[in-house]
């Protein structure tokens, strides 16, 4: 069962990476390692932050 849950979580992460979607779990983990002791963004803050980065930076993220 635990293995199933782990596999499901991995699949979620992969799908998010493939489509360039925000991945809060990955952010939390990175934050814990890189900035221990600081308060991370909430899930909503992080979501809004990612959307801004991806769609309001003028970067080309897709093709014809």
């Amino acid at each position: 069962m635990n293995q199933l849950i782990a596999a499901w979580k991995r699949l979620n992460t992969h799908v998010k990476t493939i489509f360039g979607m925000p991945n809060y779990e990955r952010y939390l983990e990175h934050h814990r390692q890189a900035h221990p002791g600081e308060t991370p963004m909430s899930e909503r803050e992080y979501y809004m932050y990612c959307l801004k980065e991806r769609y309001e930076s003028g970067k080309v993220t897709r093709c014809c």
Partner: protein, 688 residues
């Protein structure tokens, strides 16, 4: 036998198999040939190109080295720069490069028969398209994921940087216009399709609200809700089309074009969480899902190709697009063979996520091979239709009229037998009133896909047709709103070079102005495409193809400069050969479009012809009044100027690059390569 001998034996067998497949496709005589041969030819070409050529480019030319840390390893910021499993990154890269392009070009090119387009897709991808994506990815990877524009500026000079940016902006405008045109042609007079597409807007907004307020950040749940609602909208569309509501969703091309502009403008100034992001998620899932379904359908059904291998229209008299095989076939199929736009994606998010240098080969070269496979599938779907039906759907009204009986007569006179009943029955089967002159590729592909799917789902032709239309329209609309937004940023950046405050993207007023200019830009070409009898796919697609291939030419010029500075001039033919080929075809096609004396091809010749009638005070069909006559002349001049701008941009960038090559190779000047520093990879010895 040793390992090496086995390998040689296996690759010999594979190559022979490929040769047999190509020979069958080329010399087959008789009614039809199985699509299986095309698939075998494609797979063998991809396998051989990947195994041998990409290895040569990766290791011999570029010196891929797993002992050198990638940007993801060095920076690893948990956000953009994240070392990513190569299969997942392959998916990420493919989802970014795949779009409507490879589905449209091959359908149009099918008018010359299946062989010319297929050969160009396969040879083009092996020697140009996949090479471009791969080398740009490697170049960007060695520069901390810099964009193509930035690389042009660093390696060639600031002028090349600005010119490149200008070129990319114009390409964006034409790209959006031509894709919007595809949607307009698919939706005009189709209440089912229009209702379904209109519903995607409220569906995206519901998703947006859900992911922001109800379950913040739960993007997969939001997307699932969206997909379920989308299927309901698709089913509801049929009910609407058969009800008294139908007239409210039945629009002419003009109205749809205007609605599209209003949508594009609003979407580009609304907050992204409300419409753009949820739409993007929806279309990403739909895109990958449908491409997968299409592949499955073709592999299971293995349809017969009914189109002749080479049709009489190689001489340039075809109704779908004007101009002879050389050079026009090579600009009609851009995506699938070589797509300059990919150079922007390959220098975008992907290089920042590579785990190891060696992965660039699988992701850059392999990703483009997969897109090429999508192009081959589109070719199969188009050529599996009855040629008569294909021409009925893809010839403009100017060529076949608007009456089914007349159209069937004209097409039969070209040697492609078709009856009026055949066309009407097919329209009825897919739940449409009319299938004549549905140019732009999407409806043709939709009919092709519908017949494949209904083949193994046992019916539901109309449902699958509208499913296919939905999928193409959704991701095209996503390109329209995202593209308008990107165009807006590019414009603010460009004008910012002259008037600094305009570059401030936090200024709402400037945002609105820049959005309006961008929408007006593509909107004009779209509207002209709908109202001008000579506009539309017929002239817009050529402009798009020229622009897209020229961007590829620029990308090759940048990478060649990098290779020469790296001291690898002896291998620079790898990028120079495709660059020269692209320059020859695009400059050739571009200059022919402008200066050809044949009014069917040349913009100026056509303008002169119409002007002569205007001077004589005569209105000639298919124009309806003098106003339209003047409009056509104006549009011809405008199209000519745009083409000349493309030509000028690419020529200037190449000249700037040549100057650098000359300095390095002949004057032996030392011009520094702008690579990022060598950092040894973790846990690897410095040489690998």
């Amino acid at each position: 036998m040793g390992k090496k001998a086995v390998s040689i034996a296996v690759w010999t067998v594979i190559s022979i198999l490929g040769a047999i497949a190509f020979a069958t496709l080329a010399w087959h005589r008789g009614e039809t040939v199985s699509a299986a041969w095309m698939i075998v030819a494609a797979v063998v070409t991809y396998a051989v190109a990947y195994r041998f050529y990409s290895k040569f480019i990766g290791y011999r030319v570029f010196g891929l080295n797993d002992g050198r840390a990638t940007p993801a390893q060095v920076i690893n910021d948990g956000k953009d720069f994240v070392p990513t499993n190569r299969w997942v990154l392959f998916g990420h890269h493919f989802a970014a490069i795949a779009g409507a392009g490879p589905l449209v070009g091959p359908v149009l090119a099918a008018q010359m028969g299946y062989l010319p387009g297929t050969l160009w897709i396969l040879i083009g991808v092996a020697l140009a398209g996949a090479v471009q994506d791969f080398v740009v990815l490697m170049g960007s990877m060695r520069r901390n994921g810099k964009s193509l524009g930035q690389m042009a500026k660093d390696e060639i000079g600031p002028v090349a940087g600005v010119l490149g940016a200008l070129g990319i902006f114009f390409i964006m405008i034409i790209l959006i216009a031509v894709l919007a045109m595809v949607v307009v042609n698919a939706l005009k007079g189709s209440p089912w399709g229009t209702f379904t597409i209109a519903m995607t807007i409220p569906i995206a907004i519901i998703m947006g609200l859900y992911m922001r307020f109800v379950r913040p950040g739960k993007v997969l749940e939001g997307s699932l809700i969206g997909l379920v609602l989308l299927i309901l909208a698709l089913i509801g569309g049929q009910a609407v089309a058969n009800s008294s509501l139908a007239p409210y969703f039945t629009f002419s091309g003009q109205t749809l074009a205007i609605l599209m502009m209003i949508y594009g403008f609003i979407a580009s100034v609304l907050p992204v969480w409300l419409l753009l992001a949820p739409r993007d998620y929806l279309s990403s899932f739909l895109k990958i899902g449908t491409i997968f379904l299409l592949a499955l359908g073709i592999l299971l059904v293995l349809p017969n190709l009914k189109m002749p291998s080479v049709s009489r229209f190689v001489d340039g008299t075809g109704p779908v697009f004007a101009g002879p095989l050389f050079p026009f076939l090579f600009i009609t199929i851009a995506c699938g063979a070589v797509s300059g736009f990919h150079s922007l994606v390959s220098s975008g998010t992907t290089p920042k996520m590579l785990e190891k240098e060696s992965h660039a080969r699988f992701i850059g070269f392999g990703g483009m091979l997969m897109e090429s496979g999508v192009g081959i599938m589109a070719m199969i779907a188009a050529c599996a239709l009855d040629p008569g039906v294909y021409f009925a759907m893809n010839s403009p009204a100017a060529a076949i009229g608007t009456d089914v009986a007349n159209a069937a007569h004209v097409i039969s006179s070209w040697g492609f037998q078709v009856t009026p009943d055949q066309i009407t029955n097919l329209a009825k089967e897919v739940g449409e009133k009319n299938l004549l002159s549905r140019t732009g590729g999407a409806p043709t592909l939709a009919v092709g896909m519908a017949s494949l799917f209904s083949h193994f789902f046992g019916g539901f032709m109309a449902f699958w047709y509208h499913f296919a239309i939905l999928f193409e329209a959704v991701f095209i609309l996503t390109t329209i709103d995202a593209g308008t937004r990107i165009g807006r940023f590019m414009l603010q950046d460009l004008i910012g070079n002259v008037y600094k405050p305009f570059a401030n993207t936090r200024n709402y007023g400037f945002n609105v102005i820049a959005s309006a200019i961008t929408v007006a830009g593509w909107g004009y070409f779209l509207y002209q495409g709908v109202t001008d009898p000579y506009g539309g796919i017929n002239s817009l697609w050529a402009l798009f193809g020229i622009a897209n291939q020229m961007l590829a030419g620029i990308a090759f010029a940048v990478v060649t400069t990098i290779l020469i500075k790296m001291g690898k001039a002896r291998y620079s033919w790898v990028t120079i050969v495709p660059m020269v080929w692209l320059l020859v075809t695009t400059l050739g096609a571009g200059l022919m479009k402008v200066f050809s004396g044949d009014p069917k091809i040349g913009f100026y010749a056509h303008a002169a012809l119409i002007q002569k009638s205007i001077d004589a005070g005569k209105v000639v069909a298919p124009m309806k009044d003098m106003g339209q006559m003047h409009e056509v002349v104006f549009n011809d001049h405008l199209d000519a100027i745009v083409t000349l701008v493309f030509v000028a941009v690419v020529v200037l960038v190449v000249l700037a690059a040549l100057r650098i090559w000359y300095k390095v190779l002949f004057k032996k000047e030392r011009i520094a390569l702008q690579e990022s520093e060598f950092v040894p990879a973790q846990g690897a010895s410095a040489h690998a």
